[in-house]
């Protein structure tokens, strides 16, 4: 009975929203114009990167905080993990992983650089790095992580720390995350590099910190 009620409610909601969406008038405010107009001062030439790292950079700051928090939360709830020995795996897979991992690093650096003028940027680059780490783990070449030692913790926090420092320095000179137009491009690249490095580690950590239990059982 409760199932039917929920399904009926969801169907009604979807139908009503769909119908409402069909007769939607054009929006009152169009942000494409100001986004394109200020693109020259923003330090990058791709509008989405400009929004992500300049116009709405504060959102990105909080979003990295959420990601770091998620890793912290995983460590907090995971009990006391121990790093597991890597499992042996098929030598063909291992060779392939050994070939792919350095290529992934190259692709990540390219994505980081390209983010300024075409789709790309820190998140995409960090994701590719993390994928390489996961691949190495699945091939048996990288251990699962136990509790991260100090150097790893520094690496995990470094990107966010760089972002916070830039934000703090800029806040003392003007508004929060208000880049001076002549150094905007450089600052964005600095922040994105730090983020790529840390995001790779954090995203890899989200997987590798949970990876230990399989091997021990």
């Amino acid at each position: 009975m409760k199932r039917l009620a929920i399904i009926a409610a969801v169907l009604a909601f979807a139908a009503a929203t769909g119908a409402a969406m069909l007769d939607l008038a054009p929006a009152a405010i169009d942000l494409r114009t100001p986004a394109a107009a200020h693109l020259a001062q923003s330090g990058v030439s791709h509008p989405v990167t400009a929004v992500l790292l300049n116009y709405r950079a504060y959102d990105t700051l909080l979003e990295i905080a959420v990601l770091l928090l998620a890793l912290l939360a995983i460590l907090a709830v995971a009990g006391t993990p121990a790093a597991a020995p890597p499992q042996a795996s098929d030598p063909v897979v291992q060779t392939l992983a050994r070939l792919v991992a350095p290529l992934a690093v190259v692709v990540a650096v390219y994505l980081l650089w390209a983010g300024a003028f075409r789709p790309g940027g820190a998140f995409q680059a960090g994701a590719v790095l993390a994928a390489a780490a996961v691949l190495l783990h699945l091939a048996g070449l990288l251990r699962g992580w136990g509790f991260p030692p100090l150097r790893l913790r520094l690496g995990l926090a470094a990107g966010f720390a760089v972002f916070l420092t830039v934000a703090a320095v800029l806040a003392m000179r003007g508004a929060l995350l208000e880049y001076p137009p002549d150094t905007a491009g450089m600052l964005i690249l600095l922040i994105e590099s730090g983020l790529t490095f840390s995001l790779g580690l954090i995203l890899a950590g989200l997987f590798l910190c949970l990876a230990h239990e399989d091997e021990t059982s």
Partner: protein, 478 residues
């Protein structure tokens, strides 16, 4: 335009993020000596901001990135935000002092308390300062994930299950909120609250009505309004005492603040349609929560159900919002309940630590052994019942005044009945504590910091009744 002025708004967000990250790097169990000075500095910042807002007479704003809405994100602090920020920093500082003494070194639950609390406080501050609907979504997630992690950390199966239940509820809530934001962006092309306010009026497209409903349902789920309260008793009842205090006192108020912000802000033309529904659910919450508290076997479960009931009061104000007393009543209730509930959970934590029992029945003899703690519990109970001169009394007084002023006497009746029901469960605990202890009742020594922080919180909730005037004046700004 660069103004090299020191803006407390920005530092209230950056400072906790900084010490939380440092606490993470330092490792498990460390970080208390970072958190406590950090929180003290934040208390000072919140006072500076409140003074600035109160003196200026208008909201303090800050355009992040220098762009200004609608292209950039605006931060804004009006009287309501400044008051909520004061509450968060004050309660968090007292709870940090308590937690430092509460978590022994090596206690699994305390390993990650400091960085998690840092992110939680940063998220709360960011939430109260944000004036951008999508930014609010990110802050909601920051707060929600930190809260879930705090409930689960170091816990056993019941805590993990409670945390999962909480996580699903909070994720459905944010998911609904996000879809609402997406629909509003589709309708108007902006998510900035200030820009939206003149655009949304009585004949908004249907999509906006659906978006408003979605956002409201999502936020009610996060505030644990009846019937969406199912996740709260296990989560708040099962977590360690400092965590329960943080959650009940602060986290659930954040989503309530957001409902208020939307109600008084961009969606004000639409939401009166939902006002009576909210009030009805609030009244049900008061009765149902109080009933469950009266029946509860475990002490912390009782206090958690009391939270469900007290949150109901907050929703009674919605039909009355045309009168300024209603908003003042809501804010007073937030403050009163924040301090009182934190004090109650802290006191419960002391009792459980000292006696090893966590049931109401096991409280016999507590008065003799832990007098300061039981006095604190009694003071907190006074606020929840609404006895003068506590802030809880003032909150109820303002609510009843507003209700009777508009002829809605049944709201006044509900408020009074709620106070009586609160008296039943508070006296249930106190009566048990005054009974003679059984022969084998052993109480471990408790560090005085634990007992006195309970007392400080509970006393604050009572004394706030005397300081209500500046608080309500702050509310008139913005």
């Amino acid at each position: 335009m660069p103004e090299p002025a020191f803006d407390p708004l920005v530092w209230l967000i950056l400072l906790p993020l900084a010490w939380a990250t440092l606490a993470f790097v330092l490792g498990p169990g460390r970080g208390a000596w970072l958190a406590i000075p950090g929180l003290a500095a934040q208390v000072w910042l919140a006072i500076v901001l409140a003074a600035k807002v109160g003196a200026g007479g208008t909201a303090a704003t800050h355009a992040a990135g220098g762009w200004g809405a609608p292209l950039g994100i605006d931060l804004a602090a009006d009287g309501l935000s400044a008051a909520m920020l004061l509450l968060v920093q004050a309660v968090a500082l007292l709870l940090a002092l308590y937690a430092r003494a509460y978590f022994k070194p090596g206690d699994a639950a305390g390993h990650y308390f400091w960085p998690l609390t840092g992110f939680l406080v940063a998220g709360l501050n960011a939430l109260f300062l944000s004036a951008d609907l999508f930014n609010l979504y990110v802050t909601l997630e920051l707060v929600g994930l930190a809260a879930v992690a705090l409930v689960a950390s170091g816990g056993q199966a019941p805590q993990v299950a409670a945390a999962l239940r909480y996580l699903f509820a909070t994720l459905i809530g944010s998911g609904a909120y996000l879809l609402g934001v997406a629909l509003i962006y589709g309708a108007y092309g902006t998510v900035s609250i200030a820009t939206l306010m003149p655009l949304v009026d009585g004949d908004a497209p249907h999509l906006v009505w659906i978006a408003a409903g979605l956002m409201l349902v999502g936020l009610m789920l996060k505030t644990a309004l009846f019937p969406f309260h199912y996740w709260l008793p296990p989560a708040h009842g099962g977590a360690p005492a400092p965590v329960s205090a943080l959650l009940s006192a602060l986290v659930v108020k954040a989503s309530f603040y957001l409902i208020l912000r939307l109600w008084l802000g961009p969606l004000q033309a639409l939401l009166p349609a939902f006002a009576w529904l909210a009030a009805a659910l609030g009244a049900t919450a008061i009765f149902w929560g109080s009933w469950q508290a009266i029946r509860a076997v475990k002490l912390k479960r009782l206090i958690a159900y009391s939270t469900v009931a007290q949150l109901g009061y907050l929703f009674l104000i919605f039909p009355l919002l045309t009168v300024s007393q209603a908003l003042q009543a809501g804010l007073m209730q937030v403050f009163a309940h924040g301090f009182a509930k934190a004090g109650m959970f802290v006191a419960a934590g002391v009792i459980i630590k000292a006696s090893g029992h966590d049931t109401v029945a096991g409280l016999s003899g507590a008065v003799g052994r832990l007098p300061v703690t039981m006095f604190a519990f009694g003071l907190a109970g006074m606020t929840l019942m609404g006895l003068p001169p506590s802030a809880g009394f003032l909150a109820k007084w303002l609510l009843i005044d507003a209700a009777l002023g508009q002829g809605y006497w049944f709201i006044a009746v509900v408020a009074l009945a709620g106070g009586l029901l609160a008296a039943v469960y508070v006296f249930r605990v106190l009566r048990q504590a005054f009974l003679l202890a059984p022969e084998d009742y052993a109480v471990a020594a408790v560090p005085p910091a634990l007992e006195w922080s309970a007392f400080a919180l509970a006393a604050a909730s009572v004394l706030l009744g005397f300081f209500a005037l500046p608080l309500t004046e702050l509310l008139n700004v913005g």
